[in-house]
Symmetry: C2
Subunit: 145 residues, 2 copies
DNA sequence: CAAAAGCCTACTAATCCGATAGGGAGAATA
DNA sequence: TATTCTCCCTATCGGATTAGTAGGCTTTTG
């Protein structure tokens, strides 16, 4: 189970935006510098996040992106499902009676989806930020002591 | 979260073998017919499953494959991890201090892996077979009434 | 020996992913 | 008005990965 780069980058960007919330707009170029991401690729991801209702944007000088609501009101699951294109895409319509193997695979897939959804839906950006704070805090102690 | 075709096919084949256990050996050709899978592709998958210790094989006339132990002693998680090549491949060694975004992504990944492992490790082939039995049973009633 | 089956290697085809290029269009600022 | 700044949008490309094929070797059974 691996997240695509697209999702990876999107998460990293939205985490940065959550850190800065509710400050002024942040430009995509700055975001890509902060997390060291390919500029143009990130742009398309931010656009998807905006369309998904997670971000607000402002064009022109002084414009950029910011969260559309508080980090506690944004679910990581929602964000990831928006970014991850490959979700239960084709069901091939099952015109014929499914074989035992097909039923089994479908069952496994269902359980997996349920489990991941449950985990991801339980996480908000706020909680994610807290955890990151703890982690990077203890990290830095190791360096600064 | 999508399983690869390789994993899909492998599961379907091993479910068939579990249904027939502990009968005599089943040929890969018959398996590919039963589940309608590409013959040669399936062969390589069965080989991987044998190397993983899930199957026993017998060469020559009258040979084939069968489970190496009871369905209740084979975990679906083990099977899938064996078939799915792409598991936590590169960790890129993180030479530099990770950014907040990277920490967040790592955290999400950890939680996802934990959740999926938990679900898959809790399933055995036996349990899977039971569920399939229920499903296809109720399916068939709809057709035969 | 001949047939049956697994075993093994190499190759090709198709798909998807990550990334880039090149420009609009509209808002702020001078 | 002109200029700059930023998001917005489309198209395309290269490479990696996945899916599938071909062909033959080896071992067992009859």
């Amino acid at each position: 189970m691996r997240l695509s780069k697209r999702t990876d980058y999107g998460l990293r960007a939205i985490v940065q935006l959550a850190k800065l919330w509710p400050t002024q707009y942040v430009q995509s170029r700055d975001l890509s510098k902060q997390e060291n991401l390919p500029n143009k690729f990130l742009e398309s991801i931010l656009l998807a996040l905006r369309r998904g209702g997670f971000l607000e944007s402002k064009v022109g000088s002084g414009g950029g992106y910011r969260l559309s609501r508080a980090p506690r009101d944004i679910s990581v699951g929602d964000v990831i499902r928006r970014l991850e294109g490959r979700l239960s895409a084709r069901d091939t319509e099952t015109q014929k009676e499914p074989s035992p193997g097909e039923i089994a695979v479908r069952l496994v897939n269902t359980r997996l989806t349920e489990a991941t959804d449950k985990v991801l839906d339980a996480m908000t950006l706020e909680e994610l930020l807290e955890e990151v704070g703890k982690q990077s805090g203890s990290q830095q102690e190791m360096y600064y002591i």
